[in-house]
Assembly symmetry: C3
């Protein structure tokens, strides 16, 4: 085997906890929601299980990425802006402007749902991992995110 597997720890499932997180995004930018998720996990009373995060929109993403150097987010935005150009003549759907269809495509290329392991009441994120809401529209929006924990 290529990988080294640790011993297995087991628990009895005890709780399903859920809450809604509303985020007021700024246009085309990242809003970190790691603190909100951490608080939800702590207050849920669950100790061990998995957190599920779900975005109820089709033009904004959920992303786990580096939380240290803000240039990583700047470069992500620069790359995706180049890959999916606003106002590309390829697009028919532009009812809400030249960033409308690019926002849908950027969302399809990333994710609207995440699952994150929880141990002893805390998410088991890597040292450099933060959880971000990535607004793909140029205008600010109120975004609804569902947090769900099975533990």
């Amino acid at each position: 085997m290529r990988g080294s597997l640790s011993s297995i720890v087991t628990f009895a499932p005890e709780i399903i906890a859920t809450a809604t997180l509303v985020v007021d995004s700024r246009g085309r930018s990242f809003t970190e929601i790691t603190d909100e998720a951490t608080r939800f996990v702590a207050e849920s009373g669950a100790k061990d299980g998995a957190l599920f995060v779900f975005m109820r929109h089709t033009s904004a993403s959920l992303l786990i990425q580096e939380n240290a150097d803000p240039d990583v987010r700047r470069d992500l935005e620069a790359f995706f802006s180049r890959l999916v150009p606003d106002g590309d003549r390829l697009f028919v759907h532009n009812a809400e402007g030249d960033d409308d269809m690019p926002a849908h495509i950027r969302t399809a290329l990333t994710a609207v749902n995440l699952s994150i392991p929880v141990r002893e009441g805390r998410m088991v994120l890597g040292t450099w991992q933060g959880i971000y809401l990535w607004e793909h529209r140029k205008a600010s929006h109120s975004r609804s995110v569902i947090l769900h924990l099975i533990g």
Copy 2:
């Protein structure tokens, strides 16, 4: 905090439900499976938890996207067709035709698994979110999708 977190609701885990959904796709198109997932959740008897959807193939995707304007799906297909050209000379793997390797890449760029929160016996999808099977091969296929609910 940037986000506004609602109060937390909790439940005791009671049920794991599973079923297989077989979808006869048409070539390179989207088949909406929201109704089938809704029916599965309703018939499972589970009230609160999470639905997991899993595609047992490597050349078709699962996608949550806008269900209102069909031009969104048209533009998604147009963008991915341009991004990953059929018959690109870069590709060595073309045993099943010039759409073979593009289908694998389009699948890698999107997703083969989804998780969706469930409250009071219904998926908590956004108003404009539908669940789609995205066939990336040019021919029709019979695709096997696993539905799983923990609630």
Copy 3:
């Protein structure tokens, strides 16, 4: 309805199992971890539920892809290398070299978390599906992956 839904099978949730898998990756390549995941599921004692796999890093991905022809992985690597060029002048973040930011972008375009259904003590993967750790950095790394099963 487009799809054919099988009868629904239900179980009582009994166990949450977790372990850490450490993988010593080789630079910019795929390491299959299907055997390790299979072993984890078998040893966990869980029969029916879902396996969750989580990568604790932001420059390596988890991918479910074809396990038959190795050319598929070769072509995936070739495509992503062309799509996200090392040393692209667009990128500001290059503290760790010209493959630093491309590794973050390739990770954002794929996934750091997977969910896979489990029935009768085995993952319900498709015939041609393998689970891979995709190292996006050019150097080898020790990568920490969390395995979680709710069943």
